[in-house]
Symmetry: C2
């Protein structure tokens, strides 16, 4: 079948306590595609400039990802972001955001892109997300990300977009901001009433939680002793999550399918942060993903053996 992602393709300059990269391939669509390509053929939609290097095309095409729909803007420069992580990676400071070709990006979908079975709307302006979503009318499953910027300056449009997707994937604090609730559990359940059948609360190093009409599932993050660079972890999570849905084109996307998606999302995110940018997932082999999923199962599953309690 087919999986389409719309979002940014970027060059990032990142500094963490563990090293520096002056210019590495990044962007939400890139990180998503690298993770999702383990599960299905991915088609990427996003803009790049004249400076987009041959080796970046190679990385983007890892595991057969299709780049026919990547828009090459002649005379333009690729989106550039420069940031620094402090305080044990708990805080991030942005030094430079050059939107470049991303500033005027209007997604143009080929027929193949519009015919996708599964669609991921990475973090872009919500009007654009909705325009893409409407062009992919036949999609079996549509998930989306967003950010605090759009919650603050384009909330009405964002809510309209959310009404038209199956799954919202946000940080727990973004959910609270969006739903105007002081608690992510309450916020996620509020957003479920707007239309989506699933809401995922990402919690960084702590893990992620899934809310559906059928129930609740939470999974701690894989325990890593050394996190090198968190950039793109959320998009790798989304790639594993949405990818695992795309891998089962004949399956109803029920709570059990979304639980499995949580597990693959968590596994892929954990690999992402082990190295800078795309370095780990571009080289990753599928056996390692399967192994980590098995480890996550072993680390979180327990048998319910009730204790006789006193009253």
């Amino acid at each position: 079948m087919s999986l389409t992602v719309v979002g940014s393709i970027a060059y990032d300059a990142v500094s963490t306590p563990f090293g520096v990269r002056e210019r590495m391939l990044g962007g939400a669509a890139t990180h998503f595609a690298l993770a999702a390509s383990f599960f299905d053929e991915v088609r990427v939609i996003g803009p790049v400039g004249d400076d987009f290097a041959p080796e970046s095309w190679d990385v983007l095409r890892t595991r057969g990802t299709l780049t026919d729909d990547v828009e090459r803007v002649v005379g333009g420069k690729t989106f550039f972001w420069k940031g620094e992580y402090h305080d044990n990676l708990n805080s991030r400071e942005t030094h430079v955001t050059d939107l470049n070709v991303f500033e005027t990006f209007e997604p143009k979908l080929s027929e193949a892109a519009r015919a996708c079975d599964v669609l991921f709307l990475a973090n872009i302006q919500p009007d654009l997300q909705r325009a893409v979503r409407e062009q992919c009318g036949a999609a079996r499953f549509v998930a989306m990300d967003s950010m605090d910027l759009w919650i603050n300056i384009a909330r009405e449009s964002l809510v309209k977009t959310i009404e038209q997707v199956d799954c919202v994937i946000l940080n727990d604090e973004e959910l609270e901001l969006l739903a105007e609730r002081p608690n992510f559990v309450s916020a996620a359940r509020e957003i479920l009433t707007w239309g989506p059948t699933a809401v995922v609360a990402k919690q960084g190093k702590y893990g992620a939680a899934l809310f559906t009409r059928e129930g609740y599932f939470a999974l701690p993050a894989y325990p890593l002793e050394h996190v090198v660079d968190p950039t793109g972890a959320g998009d790798s999570f989304a790639g594993g999550f949405v990818g695992s849905i795309a891998a089962h084109p004949d399956q109803t996307v029920d709570h059990a399918a979304l639980v499995r998606a949580m597990v693959y999302g968590t596994a892929l995110a954990s690999f992402n942060v082990e190295a800078f940018g795309t370095e780990r997932i571009a080289e990753l082999e599928s056996a390692a993903v399967t192994g980590r999923v098995a480890e996550l199962q072993q680390m979180t599953t327990f048998e319910h053996r009730p204790i006789a309690l006193r009253d």
Copy 2:
């Protein structure tokens, strides 16, 4: 068998976005005992003043907790703490800390207290914790808490105490501070090399993680839409955790036993925060605890069904 806890008994004045209590029963030993009393007969060691009210004795004695070892300091006043929670309960400000009788507290253990099967050293000065630990030489399982204050001003003594216990239960940030590591996974594994067989990283609303020589287990918090007052949640966690070990006097405290302890700790902590102070757990019935444990199992356990991945 028997379970001894040493720690503070207090009156708290607490203000949260959901209400105010001017004077309510609190303290680490109190919250611990209320949770642990579901599992075993608990013996509390800690000081109170002349102002300790009859109704507070009643609450402390919930489910048969023994208060013979509670020291009544004539002419003294009970430890008093006043604090306020802001910002969706994510930050806490202390307005008053009157140590009162707690300032000169030196634990005196009865023979029955010293003969305990399981011991919990709540957050007190680490020299005192070690003195108690040494008096309970026959204890099958000893766990302890601490806080940033002792890590900062009495680190050497704290490390000596840690070397003599089976299990350390701290917040993830306290583990990082104590082990001087930027990551709680790495910090917990470092502390395991000091002597304990288990280290628990508490993560507040996100859950908790267990590190043993045999492996790793993590459990998300129970999803609550309304958290009323987080005061004492960590001590309720410890009460459920250590209590579940005390409930099985003939069982080796292996990884599986500690996993079960994590589940009961998580369940008890979730009840604690549903109301102010001891209000929820003092009235709680055991069937509710068993029910929540079953829910936690259902919300976190998944079957490992690998997906055929692309390479």
